[in-house]
Symmetry: C2
Subunit: 298 residues, 2 copies
């Protein structure tokens, strides 16, 4: 069994595993994100300690962003303009690759999660496969024609502009760049700022959820017409509220209004817009899948 | 030189060429779209007449939609639910492929145009490359990871929902499915219905154009955050109004507000959002590029 290293580099915690696939995880650790030196030191220490017993062929990193994924760029492999103290302009890819003397590949946390779900989770065989995380922020990634979506930079699906009915919802949005973009209207902080209390404390019949489902459905329906995806996976803290799935699905069907003539939407929307099949491990298993793609490509 | 056949199957006219690349077009014809029997008969006649002198290795078809591109579907290769009289449920792919005894491949007109531009036009080397046509309707397609975007069906980018300021623009939109989606607000008929006269008769300083640029820019900026494309090509009758490009570019930069940190947007937006490099031939040359991909894949 070829083993790979996977790192899910999050803004609050890091997860590292050594595995060949989801049911073959040989070693695992997790620790809080502190300074780059300390945090990456712990990553390196984990893989070095396990290197004799579990040698890895490549390392995949699913990372909070923004990251530079342009292989022709001088800052390829860097976390770039993050507001997270100490982390801006951190060359995470080469620091780990050099220290561990292994080929390594970096992608966004959400492209990683999309790839993990596409490889082993809810998105198996579904191309395009999109993954949205709706929590403190909103991010989206996806697999199209077998590989993650990159371009100028990487998708930033949380910053789509959506219809905003100011009479029904006078909250102006909180995105420092765009005000009432998707993230500004629908991420966790929008719930808290709009209703004066954290989302997880709002009762299930609170009007907050209808509005929340509306914005998520507007974004999802826009992604449906943009990508014609075969699967849309919704993760993140806000989506832990399971009843949101039912509301979002109903509203997506209503918004598309029969235009997209596919049984996936017209008959089986409950299998089309789904939670992650890999649970909380989409990201770190996506890192394993990234490493696998790197080895297969070479 | 390997020669290919290309068909641009449009709702009002068909164009057929035999070529290896843009500067090597060996034969060409165009005729109005009438009934399927007559129109496809003329396509078959054109290629048969030229088959001895210019034998083709494969046929590519860029077609008005919706079309079924799912190779596992029983109606793969069909034009499906078009309102165009007589054309619904037409198996264009197999009728041409069987009659001409040649391998054939079908895609949407806009995926075809995107591929043509990616192969030889304004989108060379730009992956993802998106192509939007803004005319009587609005359609969009694209190349991601080297190939056209398909999934459940194909992209229908004209049906994105956008912010609609009803005070500034009380026009309700004309899309029979969605009312004020992108196409409902910004395609040619929206201009005509909103202002009471056809777009091409509106003076350049008419407020119609600022509003039009606003909607196009909202759609383009949503596509920027969804795909992180390296090039966005805008074609179609409405975009024949060249001054729209300047307005759209300015508004896209304003909408993104520095969030997407890329010189392509921050410094070179005039080379980022561009007209088709192949002019009116993006679609039919895209059909040639489709045929080329089909042969290379086999």
């Amino acid at each position: 069994m070829t083993l790979f290293g996977g790192v899910e580099a999050g803004g609050t915690k890091f997860v590292c595993i050594i595995a060949s696939k989801p049911d073959d995880i040989r070693a695992e650790t997790r620790f809080p994100t502190t300074t780059p030196a300390e945090t990456l030191g712990r990553v390196i220490d984990f893989f070095q300690r396990n290197s004799r017993r579990y040698p890895i062929s490549a390392l995949g990193i699913s990372c909070f962003g923004p990251v530079d994924l342009d292989t022709s760029s001088p800052t390829y492999g860097y976390i770039t303009t993050t507001p997270k103290p100490g982390w801006a302009q951190t060359d995470i890819l080469h620091r780990l690759s050099d220290a561990l003397k292994t080929p390594a590949i970096l992608d966004t946390d959400v492209n990683g999660a999309a790839l993990g779900e596409y490889r082993w989770g809810a998105g198996q065989g579904a191309d395009p496969c999109l993954y949205l995380t709706i929590g403190t922020g909103i991010g989206g990634g996806g697999i199209v024609n077998g590989k993650p979506i990159h371009g100028l930079v990487h998708p930033e699906m949380g910053h789509m502009r959506l219809p905003h009915d100011w009479q029904a919802d006078p909250f102006p949005g909180w995105c420092p760049y765009h005000g009432d973009c998707f993230e500004g209207l629908a991420a966790g902080p929008a719930l808290e700022k709009r209703w004066g209390r954290r989302g997880e404390t709002l009762p299930k019949d609170h009007p907050a959820w209808e509005l929340e489902a509306r914005y998520i459905a507007l974004a999802v329906s826009n992604l449906v017409v943009a990508f014609s995806p075969r699967k849309i996976i919704l993760g993140g803290g806000v989506m832990a509220n399971q009843q949101l799935f039912t509301r979002v699905r109903e509203e997506v069907v209503r918004l598309l209004n029969g235009y997209v003539q596919s049984p996936a939407i017209l008959e089986h929307v409950d299998e089309y817009i789904v939670p992650p099949g890999l649970g909380a491990r989409s990201g770190v298993l996506g890192a394993i899948a990234l490493a696998e793609q790197l080895v297969l490509r070479e």
